[in-house]
Symmetry: C3
Subunit: 681 residues, 3 copies
């Protein structure tokens, strides 16, 4: 449905028939006097803005009391935007309940696991499971949809905002009631639940559904399956809220696509977006760079995963920042070029929209130090000039709009359930970071110049010659079968330590690790081998492992040893194995090699699949390449990952962005991005 949206964006005053990439921001005119609105639309036109999200935090303004409504200002905003050729992604405005509602109904406030109310004062202070909140929120959604159905500016619905950013885990009595209902659906009988949760341990056997509680503050480690089911429930409870809003929107405006802004980022773990994606008409995402040693890779990874969640179809970058944010310990401004490179990396991974939080930087409030398209300094600023230049760039990339990603030979499997399960407490190690593991494999592939798709569990695995599944901890029987079939039919599976350990109830697969994958991998491990922080082991291929070291016994005659431990308690024993099976193979990496180590190992893992870099050798690791494919052609994105100039030789095609020199090379300045339409093959 994103194409519908994009096509509507063409119906602006300029009447341009060509496809467009969307460009815009959250727009909060209620923070400003009326006279500023005129400057806003003038500057939006100057910058090439064609879409804005409106009313995200306007509940208190739209509905100042239980039975008072004020739409006049919003009517004016909608009209003004439409008159200026700017489409509106209209929020349902339910993100932050107004003071009158929480004063009248404090029972909608979330409660922490320690029993503390989460009070108003910031935002998102509502229980996902509160019937009272739901009733008021849906009443507002209905009012909004009724009011703006048919408004020509309306191009999409924006349900709530960053659902679950602060309220995914609520331990209130409402949550307890909803959790019980969810558990009844999942487990059907108390006996099944008692079995699934292993309540024979620690005298936890339930004799009535009403005895069950969320995992509130406990004396020691709460029941792990209770914890895992509570994570599933919490994600589902928010999804249920999303569906409830969406149903009203579909009823009243069936032709307007509905989305909500996900937050595919390392710190956002609570919402299983792979599971949510089916609920929206197109996937939208918010992304903010968290400074760190691999911040660029993380941005690419998250954009890539968002594309995976969207099934490879175009998606919407609903928020990112033009420069500094305000919620990190130290908030750095972007350097010249970073704004465009960040934006275009998202486009390279399938984004058909580049939007920001927010249009005009607030003078007051909790996010006044968050950058915007129009900064405190005003339009006469380098930042606004960079924004305007980005608008021009996106116009030049119009042909890309609507294209999908071209599948890569390598897939990285990203699994929310394994993320949740592998990092629970009372585990062999508390140092394991699921997301970091996946990102390190991705970084290693980037450094080798090898394209990879990050895909969620449930995606079509057969698209990839090689499937890397780091720490695939939770493996139900069905998934084990799928992976076995994948390998037997010619796929090359790579997995790691602490994979295949538990089933969907977090019960250990017995008989030796890696449980569910033991036969496929042709190995057996009797005890886990976590390493203390700072402790490393050396391998005989000159790599170094950390975090973990398994004592592997090969159990199949076909099992090959790709590397052995040279030091550590398992010196001389296998560290990396591969077992050929059917037309494919299954490999196991038993320690954390880090990006460099993985880059050293990967060629051996990819070799049986015949996978290697598509890039000229001299730019591998310096340039990230992606390919989008659509009705307008195949598009190659070349992103200069470095702060130095890079020349990419041997490129043919039509340059939409950048130029192909006389020498047949694309010259990329520091942080530059080039986009080429590839010759039809």
């Amino acid at each position: 449905m994103i194409s519908t949206l994009l096509s509507r964006l063409q119906r602006g005053p300029d009447g341009a028939p060509a496809p467009r990439l969307a460009f815009g921001a959250d727009y909060n005119p209620e923070q400003w006097p009326r006279e500023v609105w005129e400057e806003d639309v003038r500057l939006m036109r100057e910058a090439g803005v064609n879409i804005v999200s409106v009313a995200i935090f306007s509940w208190a303004r739209i509905q100042p009391g239980p039975d008072t409504w004020d739409f006049a200002w919003l009517d004016e905003v909608m009209d003004l935007l439409h008159e200026n050729g700017i489409g509106v992604d209209l929020a349902t405005a339910t993100a932050s309940p107004p003071p009158w509602l929480t004063t009248a109904h404090p029972e909608i406030l979330p409660v922490t696991d320690r029993g503390e109310a989460v009070w108003p004062g910031a935002r998102q202070h509502w229980r996902p499971t509160s019937p009272v909140f739901r009733e008021h929120a849906l009443r507002l959604v209905r009012a909004m949809a009724t009011r703006y159905a048919g408004h020509p500016a309306l191009v999409a619905w924006h349900v709530s905002n960053e659902l679950g950013c602060h309220n995914v885990y609520d331990y209130s009595d409402d949550a307890a009631r909803a959790f019980r209902a969810w558990l009844r659906t999942r487990h059907t009988t108390l006996d099944a639940l008692n079995h699934a949760w292993g309540t024979a341990f620690w005298s936890q056997r339930y004799s009535d559904w009403d005895q069950i509680l969320p995992p509130r503050l406990a004396a020691s480690h709460p029941n792990p399956t209770q914890q895992l089911d509570f994570k599933r429930f919490s994600s589902d409870a928010l999804k249920e809220h999303l569906r409830a809003e969406r149903e009203i929107l579909r009823e009243l405006t069936p032709d307007v696509p509905v989305t909500t802004n996900f937050m595919v980022m390392p710190g956002t773990k609570g919402m299983n977006y792979a599971d949510w994606a089916a609920e929206v008409d197109f996937v939208a995402n918010d992304h903010y760079v968290v400074p760190g040693p691999r911040e660029r890779d993380e941005l690419s990874f998250s954009a890539n995963l968002t594309s995976g969640i969207a099934g490879g179809r175009p998606w919407f970058l609903m928020e990112h920042s033009t420069s500094a944010v305000n919620w990190q310990p130290v908030n750095l401004a972007k350097r010249p070029g970073e704004l465009a490179r960040d934006s275009l990396t998202h486009v390279a991974h399938g984004a058909d929209a580049v939007c920001f939080f927010q249009w005009r930087q607030s003078a007051a409030g909790a996010e006044k130090y968050h950058s915007a398209m129009v900064p405190h300094a005003g339009a006469d600023s380098d930042l606004f000039r960079a924004v305007t230049a980005l608008g021009d760039t996106l116009k030049a990339l119009a042909p890309v709009a609507g294209s999908e990603r071209e599948p890569a030979e390598v897939g990285i499997l990203f699994d929310w359930e394994s993320w949740w399960a592998s990092e629970q407490d009372s585990h062999p190690t508390s140092l394991l970071d699921y997301h970091r593991e996946a990102l390190e494999w991705y970084s290693a592939l980037l450094s080798l110049g090898i394209r990879a798709d990050v895909v969620p569990t449930g995606a079509d695995l057969s698209r990839h010659q090689v499937l890397i599944a780091p720490v695939l901890h939770l493996v139900p029987a069905e998934l084990a079968k799928d992976l076995t079939r994948y390998a037997e039919q010619g796929g090359h599976l790579v997995t790691t330590y602490f994979s295949g350990v538990v089933d969907e109830h977090d019960h250990v697969w017995l008989g030796g690790y890696p449980g569910a994958l033991r036969e496929l991998l042709g190995i057996r491990v009797e005890e886990f081998g976590p390493l203390p922080a700072g402790r490393t082991v050396e391998l005989d291929d000159a790599t170094t492992g950390g975090l973990w070291t398994d004592r592997i016994t090969a159990t199949s005659p076909e099992t090959e040893v790709l590397a052995r431990y040279r030091t550590g308690v398992h010196a001389g024993r296998p560290a990396v194995t591969r077992r050929p099976t059917g037309a494919g193979s299954a490999a196991y990496v038993s320690t954390r090699l880090g990006v460099d180590g993985l880059a050293s190992l990967l060629p051996r893992l990819l070799e049986p699949a015949g996978v290697s870099s598509e890039l000229p050798a001299e730019v591998r690791g310096l340039v990230e390449a992606t390919v989008r494919r659509g009705p307008e052609g195949r598009f190659l994105f070349l992103v200069n990952r470095t702060d130095d100039a890079v020349s990419v030789p041997g490129v043919t095609g039509e340059a939409l962005l950048g130029t192909i020199g006389a020498d047949g090379a694309v010259a990329l300045g520091p942080r530059d991005v080039a986009v080429l339409r590839l010759p039809s093959s």
Copy 2:
């Protein structure tokens, strides 16, 4: 009114007519059997003690039940002290409510932002806004004042104790009610409040005063203006309590001066003492050294600021320690000489009293490991001998009593509102420490041997040729005008990064930073430049900056560049600027240079004002000099900041403490202090 107090102290049995410096401690005889009291007064006389604070924590003893009173023991104490020529600074005894009161009225207990009651067991477990507590406290004050009005030992009233040390921030329902009333007074209308708080953001618009709450635990950053107003309110709520007690005392004992002990120290941020000072008849302060790299400078800074708060008039050092305290992670005893140097540094900055917590070290209770004038070891101890020697020294300094501080050419502006506002959350950096910034400028001046006064906002700026205002973050329009006038009339203003950014409502001054001071400084900054921890930038004057680096554009033809960045993202651009204006100038320092860097820069900043050290070159940085001026003459204090001997040449005058050698030099041993009456000029 401190002169009244001091003159009363002369009316002891010795009948000495000369002025006196006060010397004494908190005295808690109720902790000891009656027979110890006799030894107490004997030792007090031996040590030269002439004042003690009594009954600070005696509520439960004086009023053992709601309608039971026991004054007999206190009568005896008062009489005994008077008989021995010792004046009494009598506490109102309201500091710590007795168990019967909190048992009967648990609704007086403070509540944390997470909703937790703060239970009895320690001290100060009362809500500043509790009507019930207020009623009981004032009843006690009235009883105390009625009982001791006219008692000859009574020389001053000591309201409560360290108001706000633990209870400044209370989030109870009482606090909510009082906060609303305070907000009505401040903002008058809800519309004004909604504007001031920027409630258009995050759907926070209030439609009724009763919807407003203290900034309790929230899902994310609470509204910043709500936070700032709550800080203002919390300071005011305690001030209101102080006034309520004082009014009763003034009614019943109009001739007895009233004070309360402030805590001017880096860790005590909640009470705006500059604002409180007008409420007391003389300023009193508690000060404890927190070990650190510049602990000596901090002591001087705090004493100096206390003097500033007192308007340069004499003040009362109500508490400090003879040696170790008990509440730091590791509590170090003072080394020989430190007791006297600490005490005399306070006197050098205007203290007319040197008092300690406490007279006799407790054998039990939470502060039994806090040092006292009489330690656990008893009077036969080095510590008590040092105390006695200090008593003799203070007698020798009697002429100093009543003198005021002689204004310095340099002033450092210390602004509570900027302290509060600059360190709020969701800011460009969480590493900024307002107090540290001010102290570093002070340390740099000390190291150059240049006297400076630390003065609160509202003081008469025209006294100082140079006014340094580090991180003057919150600048209402009126203050901006005052500073502009100051510079135009010949003053030399120096300010830094993150100054002039917001108005009194914490709204950003738009159009470019440093907002309110942009025109005066003749510069413009488009984006903030915080630096990550450990990251530094070099300047072309060989100094090094941290924490921050601004990208400065000069906007006035007069703007001069005093230093440029040599490294970092702004290499080649201005780092330190000055714009001459009228008869003065306005300078801007855009990075944190640290003490050494500031010491290197300061001569260039001071040069236009013609300010330089008054000390001989060879002792600059080794010796701290202050000057007090009163009816008995001008007094020069020379404090040896080092642990080595220092000789200060070229001094003329009468030595009250120390000696002027034949060579016209004052020889200061390690940690020594000399005091000289300067020749009348």
Copy 3:
């Protein structure tokens, strides 16, 4: 009574008449399907298991509702075990209340000092003082004892489980009521309590018992004696629960010994086990190694202290681990040999039973990653083979069963009250770690090859020529007298900084430190000398001190100086002193020398007592030696502390474990243990 238990274990089907060491584990068959039970008993026999603890967490299974009981499964388990010659240490099953009970009676849940309920979800979520919980728990105990009285498998009762592991500190209203009752018993009158607690300080005087509360969240440091009494009360409250269960068991099964599993480990500070020991028929302990630089020494220390608590009589190792645990940040598997060495070190210190948590590793629940005798990998595993080998070893050590420890010349005094008191807040330093201090002395003795007994206060001191009492902080008058008598009668007392400081009410002994021991030691200290973290002082004997440095004045002509400070503020003054008195002496060590420093100092401290190592010089520090003595002879245990081979020459006797070579030496492989029956002397 442990002999009764062991003799019962002989009555298995094999009918062996010889004494036996017990070997087994917690056995939780309710976690597994019935068919697994058959494999369980088969493998138990294979491993030599002769005892298991059953029903520890079976409450919810045994009593599925208030008036429903299900004993059938447990009958079957008991019968099955008996048929296979395996005795049962039967739990009273009260450790973890079932969901129906906490749902019906949430008022049994513990409450934190911040007022938070501790919810079900883990275990031990009950208030020790809840009358409701007590009633339900005792009803269960009565049902269990009635059911299984006379069952032939029943060899001992296991009261609850790890009492106080999570619930020792409860701040609920039940706790408040019980605390008051306890205080009435201890202090008799409110006046006495007010004196003991020093309530004259901070206005804390109580006028009614009902005003007293546990030390809940307070504004500052809660009253220290309140804190100390609350620690005593909390230990006593659990002891009272233990007694209540025991009384029912003694009533119904007078011949069956009763125990409960202590947790003598550094992190378990709340329960005064020295005080609890009299309440059980034999001492049982759980011990888990916490990785660290002296983990081996700590294991030995804890086993030694357990023996001390048991009065030197045999005790029961109720739980330890075969390999990794699951609750540390990183949980390491044991290396080859460690399982046996850990087990046998406990036996070396008097354990007559070697048991584990648990028999079969759980597939689900919070401890599924805790190792067991049968791991996830199953019986075909190195771990189960090591377990079986250990079973054989224990059979070979059968003659040791029932023997007591042979007193060592050196005793280390371990005092719970000093542990509690010395680490309270508002102290000279927060860096002091009482347990570490004791362990460092123990490690130093180990490194010198000198046997020492760790003994609790109240043990017969006269057994030891040298008594080391590190940080004996709380010294009531009676203890001071005992220690003085000890020294006068020929004992050699060694104590340290921060000893003798307070009496039983945590009141400072006045007149100079170390208060209660000042005269005995012949020294006086006027102020405490804590050192900041990382700061050290050097002594003139080439050792280095940290943490503390006292300024010592010798007050007796006999006081000798064994070492002086070479650096620091007390350079040149005494650092270590000794005063001969009567037939013995009293020495004082005024700084923390660390293990190496103590090892250097100890020979000088031991010399007057004529104590030296009993081991050949070449193996001192490499091998730990203990001696047990019983009806079957004297047994020498030689534990190789190192990971290298060690040869111990000159050993004579009969080797029960290991061999004496032709050269008269015992060859110990890495981590090996040898056990020899010494020739009768």
